[in-house]
């Protein structure tokens, strides 16, 4: 991680920590919702940005996580934060199962399939499949999270829970992108044939990308359920998936700081332009169009953020595995 990026994160953390002093409860709540979308967008970024798999049904995994947590909490009285790993695991399992038969599809074909997937999940929830999801009313009475014996209730308390989880996620995902697993996803995006030809099991990594992305979306769903205490299918509409897609592309596909900025803008901007009333979405759409024309690579593109001099570490290369370089040309 470069010094500039680190400084940016530190600045962001300080700003968030001080936010409750200067903002009212509603504004803090907007920040909370931005935090949730940052989590979701970062999880989609693994699939869409890193692995290059067009997934426009990400809300399905978010929904599976949220409903898993809600059912565990309301029916089996599992504390909501304890449900976090369970909902992540269920969402991952669901993603791997449904992605398995379609994972070989490319680009726009996969996009269409994932749109279908998102709709199927939403409609299944509306129809109360299995009698667990509460139909179109959803599930209510979900408990607030408890951390070290203290109940988290107020928006400013949620601010720390949600953005704390964001910080953990950013830390882990930066590690991921600079390790064997993250690189494999990048190779897969850049050229699947060359990746396979270099010894990377591309089919496996496609599935793992979906699994990990879904697990994180599922955990974000848990936080969402505990924040709202009520969830219903309309929270997981196609529009949610579209917005998440937008956040990743707008911020910079594959770039963690870019996606954070993209998600924050997509959540906060419509709030700022609230005075424009019904015209605000029009304005919002216009900004998106202009962005894609003048800066299609996103606000903070990934180039120059990944492998840099410091990562080469080590002393000057000693070709241990290879014989000393002889003078060439016979």
């Amino acid at each position: 991680m470069s010094k500039r990026l680190l400084a940016g994160y530190a600045l962001g953390a300080v700003a968030l920590a001080l936010a409750p002093r200067f903002l009212d409860a509603y504004q803090v709540d907007v920040l909370n919702s931005a935090g949730l979308y940052v989590l979701l967008a970062l999880s989609l970024n693994l699939i869409l940005g890193d692995a290059g798999l067009f997934n426009m049904g990400h809300a399905a995994f978010y929904a599976v996580g949220a409903y898993t947590a809600a059912i565990l909490n309301t029916r089996f009285e599992v504390p909501i934060l304890w449900a976090l790993p369970a909902s992540g695991a269920v969402a991952a399992l669901f993603a791997v199962l449904v992605a398995r038969p379609v994972i070989h599809l490319r680009g726009d074909y996969l996009l269409v399939v994932t749109i279908g997937l998102g709709e199927i999940v939403r409609i299944a929830l509306v129809n109360d499949v299995g009698g667990y999801t509460g139909g179109s009313n959803g599930i209510f009475g979900i408990a607030r999270p408890e951390l070290f014996g203290a109940k988290i209730r107020k928006p400013q308390e949620f601010l720390f829970l949600i953005w704390g989880f964001v910080a953990l996620t950013v830390f882990l995902f930066h590690r991921l992108e600079r390790s064997r697993f993250g690189r494999a996803l990048t190779y897969l995006r850049e050229d699947p044939v060359a990746a396979e030809g270099s010894g990377i099991d591309t089919a496996r990594y496609r599935l793992l990308a979906f699994g990990l992305g879904a697990a994180w979306a599922g955990m974000a769903g848990t936080l969402y359920a505990s924040k709202m205490t009520i969830i219903s299918p309309e929270s997981f509409s196609f529009w949610e998936s579209v917005q998440l897609f937008l956040m990743v592309i707008l911020g910079g596909s594959g770039s963690i700081p870019g996606v954070i900025i993209g998600a924050t803008i997509v959540v906060v901007m419509p709030e700022i332009f609230r005075d424009l009333a019904s015209a605000r979405m029009l304005f919002f759409g216009l900004v998106m169009m202009v962005m894609m024309i003048i800066r299609p690579q996103g606000l903070l593109p990934v180039r120059g953020l990944r492998f840099r001099k410091a990562h080469l570490a080590a002393p000057p290369p000693a070709p241990a595995a290879s014989p000393a370089q002889a003078e060439v040309s016979p």
Binding site: L172, R175, L176, S179, R180, F181, G182, R183, A184, T186, Y187, E190, D191, V193, A194, A195, E196, G197, S198, G199, I200, D201, T202, L208, L212, R303, R306, F307, R308, K309, H311, L312, A313, A314, P317, A318, P319, A320, A321, S322, P323, Q325, A326, V328, S329, P330
Partner: protein, 257 residues
């Protein structure tokens, strides 16, 4: 004694077209073997059959005595066959060292959890992988270009970067598809030297090449394909004199050899 790679009656048809028909040849351990033939002779198809990119219609391919036909490409790389591509397939937006690290993937083990949490063994493994990648860059003569994006490298350098990526996978057999394509004479000379050094490392080489001067200098055995069938096999001198080869191939390119 069995050869490192053995093709027996290998056939591949695309619909009614026989791209490769009943081809058999051996690649002996430690040798440099050239596969030549006019355009459309089925050379690259043969490579794609060996590396698992295409399915074999009939026949068998054995590597170290083990059948490998129709296995998935990444499995075959793991077994020890790495390749380069005719139309360079680098990860253009990534740095040279990241490209080479791709080859290291199948010889390292950090999975999802280790990649998230970085336990000490993962950090050590990563450091070793980067050091090895840099050593391979040095080996092919790109030592100073580790942090350059692949797309910013000159054409000849891109070809050598592909070789470095393949070598990073610890192959026993390196399969090069037109390694001198687009290279000038000087670069081709360097490439002959590089192939010699690869061989000195104990890596067996199988290559497709149109540049006859390179094939004649670098290879000790040449297999000639014409219209998907093997017409000749032997040492360079014999191939140069073989009337069938001259008729089918060399005869049309006078003075090249």
């Amino acid at each position: 004694m069995s050869a490192l790679l053995e093709l027996r009656h290998v056939t591949r048809t695309f619909g009614g077209l026989t791209a490769v028909g009943d081809v058999s040849f051996d690649v002996e351990q430690g040798s440099v073997v050239g596969l030549i033939g006019p355009n459309g002779a089925g050379k690259t198809t043969t490579f794609n059959l060996i590396t698992g990119n295409y399915k074999v219609s009939r026949g068998t391919i054995a590597f170290e005595g083990r059948p490998i036909a129709n296995r998935r490409t990444n499995r075959i790389v793991r077994l020890g066959i790495a390749r380069t591509f005719q139309n360079i397939r680098l990860f253009q937006q990534l740095t040279a060292v990241e490209n080479v690290l791709a080859g290291r993937h199948c010889r390292t083990g950090a999975g999802l959890v280790a990649s998230l949490l970085w336990p000490p063994w993962q950090v050590r493994e990563e450091r070793a992988a980067v050091a090895r990648a840099r050593a391979e860059l040095e080996f092919v003569g790109l030592g100073g270009r580790a942090l350059d994006l692949a797309k910013n490298l000159a054409y000849g350098d891109q070809r050598r970067l592909e070789i470095a990526r393949a070598l990073a996978a610890d192959p026993k057999l390196l399969v090069l598809d037109e390694p001198a394509g687009g290279m000038n004479e000087h670069e081709t000379d360097e490439l002959v030297g590089l192939i010699g050094r690869i061989r000195a490392r104990g890596v067996t080489v199988l290559l497709i090449e149109h540049d006859m001067s390179l094939v004649m200098r670098a290879c000790e055995k040449i297999v000639v394909l014409v219209y998907g069938e093997k017409v000749a096999e032997g040492p360079p001198e014999a191939i140069q004199r073989d009337p069938r080869v001259i008729e089918a191939y060399l005869g049309t390119e006078e003075g090249v050899a």
